[in-house]
Amino acid sequence: MSNGQTTSRYTIERLQSIDRRIIFVFIAAAVIIPLLLGASLKEETTPIVRALFDYVDHLPEGSRVLLSFDYGPTTAPEIQPMVDAVLRQCIERKCKLYMMAVWATGHNLVGQTIEEILKSEYPQLQYGQDYVNLGYKAGSQGLIRLLVVDFKRMYSTDAAGTAIDSIPMMQNIGNLKNFDLIFSFGGGFPGIKEWILYAGDPGHIPIGGGCTAVSAPLLYPYYPSQLVGLMGGAKGAAEYENALIQAYPKFSNMPMAGMSLMMSQTVSHIVIMFFVVLGNVLYFIGRNRNASTKPGGEK
């Protein structure tokens, strides 16, 4: 009897300080398996994302949308799905796309996005007519301040060095007020907040955003008065993709990065919570046993 009790207490103590490598294996599996299976998870679109989606969906044909790539490779897994979804929707709406970056790291990502989405999925689009890559300019919020009054003073050429006035779709762009919607992707500094404070508010320009999960709580307060809508982290991206698929069924067979990321996210969260609960259950069993055996153990 007493022998049995000691063994079980021993097991519980050992389980409580479980080798953390077991947790590592579960986390790796939670990430890899959904990735390999291509599993994805639908996310019901929340109002803050829905507002953004609907705004883009009601833009008239030929609207000018500025997309600012304000993120880097490390946050790309979270942000890129948002960019892809927004780009696809804008092209379906026949909007004109202006891509730029206030982050140096965004410069390469613009080029990469053009290669992967625009050129491969929509080869009929013409550079300079339908989309333009303006590249990165230094100056952070100072740059945004300048662009509100004068766009071409800072952007005298596009990313490839072509004179800006020779690009057809740049003809009627004098300042940021000429855009129908500005998107900022990233959420770091400079990012959505700076776009709101230095462009959206003073120029009365609608601003939409997509940001990492970490920065989302800091940006929520700007919705709805200063932000059209906001996608926060992988969840926001998946919600937007869901809205996109519902509105444009042609996308339903396409792999959606945000949704598959969401699957990994959900599974990993469940794994972590499972271990937390397990730890607590073991802790309480262990404590109760200790409490009951201590006074009686001497007998």
Binding site: V149, D150, D165, Q171, G174, N175, K177, G203
Partner: protein, 411 residues
């Protein structure tokens, strides 16, 4: 042919109205919008802006002017916006500064402070402005030049008054309490668990015959957190020298390394063991965030310190360090002023100094009356902040927003 003729007429008209359109070298809106104009019927040029006024912007050295103008309300719909031009004399050469949308009737001219720049704006000088209304039909109407408007430089930035008051007030507190402490007034400080554990943690390392690892974070010497950490390093190193155990300080920043070497060397000197110090204790790893983490992880796994200190500025690497340290069973004492990283230290370390406690730690460890006096000053600062908040809340309840304005900093 008819199109061409029409275009020619429009050009001519624009030229007459806009007598000086010669100066618009950079952009020639008449030709650039010629396509759209050619298909539209001829419309008269837009009305002219009037009533130009300029006011100096306060709180600078006189390189900013706010230009305001008026425009007939019924004509606003006919124009796309305004251009603002500046010159140093009414007949001199005007330079285009920028544009304003059609519903804006003012423009903040921020001139360049340096002479060679083309939009240089001298302080304490006169300037003249012109506002050009740009019609939807592409025609331009120039206003009469307005001026002279003068820029003035100021000696004090009044928008920063709350900061000055704060600095002076806080300085007075610090002086007062340091004087009081010098006179031998006993000051109470509440215990901080993280500080009280320092001795025990070093003692444990001594007993186990294992080294102590001290991480100053990935801040440069221009972070207050790093400088606070130097002070703690000094105290810790002295104890370690007294106990004769080993200290390892791998550094992320080279200046931080230089200072840390001085700090540790003099601590060993103070403890009477200068011979036991060598520069091999405090060394440089690399200043790439994750390479540094990889290196420190390696040090932890191979040298197996019994005690780890993480004090200073930390970013995402905090949890990697703390979890690796935990896996080797070290006692860990952490402290940072980075709000985003505090939760990870709280979760993975034995003791955590939260925010301000990090700055206070050196005073606690040294028990130097001067330093303890400054803690008391900080408390008074907090008391005043709390009082301000209470007054502010009461003020807003009674609908008086002026109080909040009072403490605002206008940059």
């Amino acid at each position: 042919m008819r199109h061409l003729l029409r275009l020619f007429l429009i050009l001519l008209l624009a030229f007459v109205v806009d007598g000086q359109s010669v100066y618009s070298q950079e952009s020639d809106p008449v030709t650039s919008t010629a396509d759209s104009v050619a298909t539209e019927p001829v419309t008269p040029p837009p009305a002219s802006a009037f009533g130009l006024a300029g006011e100096d912007m306060p709180n600078d050295n006189g390189h900013k002017l706010r230009v305001k103008w008026q425009y007939p309300a019924e004509a606003v719909g006919d124009i796309t916006g305004f251009e603002i031009w500046r010159a140093t004399s009414p007949t001199g050469e005007f330079r285009m500064l920028g544009q304003a949308p059609n519903d804006y009737f003012e423009y903040l001219d921020i001139g360049n402070k340096e002479t060679p720049a083309p939009d240089f704006m001298a302080n304490n000088s006169d300037f003249f402005y012109k506002v050009v209304a740009i019609g939807k039909n592409g025609l331009r109407t120039e206003s009469e030049p307005g001026g002279p408007f003068r820029t003035y430089g100021q000696w004090f930035h009044r928008g920063k008054t709350p900061v000055l008051v704060g600095v002076v007030l806080f300085g007075c507190f610090t002086f007062y309490f340091i004087r009081a402490a010098k006179k031998g007034k006993e000051l109470y400080v509440r215990p901080l668990a993280g500080i009280e554990a320092v001795d025990e943690a070093i003692g444990r390392a001594t007993e186990m015959g294992k080294p102590t690892l001290y991480i100053l974070g990935i801040g440069t010497a221009s972070e207050i957190a790093t400088i606070a950490s130097f002070a703690i390093l000094g105290r810790v190193a002295k104890k370690i020298a007294e106990y004769q155990t080993q200290l390892i300080v791998p550094c992320y920043d080279a200046i931080v390394m230089s200072i840390a070497q001085d700090v540790v060397r003099s601590s060993y000197l103070q403890a009477g063991r200068p011979d036991q110090y060598s520069d091999d204790m405090v060394y440089f790893v690399t200043n790439a965030q994750f390479a540094y983490v990889a290196g420190v992880n390696g040090i932890m796994m191979r040298q197996r310190p019994a005690t780890n200190f993480y004090l200073g500025y930390f970013a995402a690497e905090s949890l990697i360090l703390a979890e690796t340290g935990n896996s080797i069973g070290a006692i860990q004492i952490a402290g940072t002023d980075q709000i985003t990283q505090i939760p990870f230290f709280v979760v993975a370390c034995d003791y955590t100094l939260i925010g301000e406690e990090l700055y206070a730690a050196s005073a606690y460890l040294g028990r130097d009356p001067l330093l303890l006096g400054s803690l008391k000053a900080e408390d008074w600062g907090k008391g005043i902040v709390m009082a301000l908040i209470v007054v502010g809340v009461v003020a807003t309840i009674f609908g008086w927003d002026g109080f909040r304005e009072l403490i605002r900093v206008n940059l």
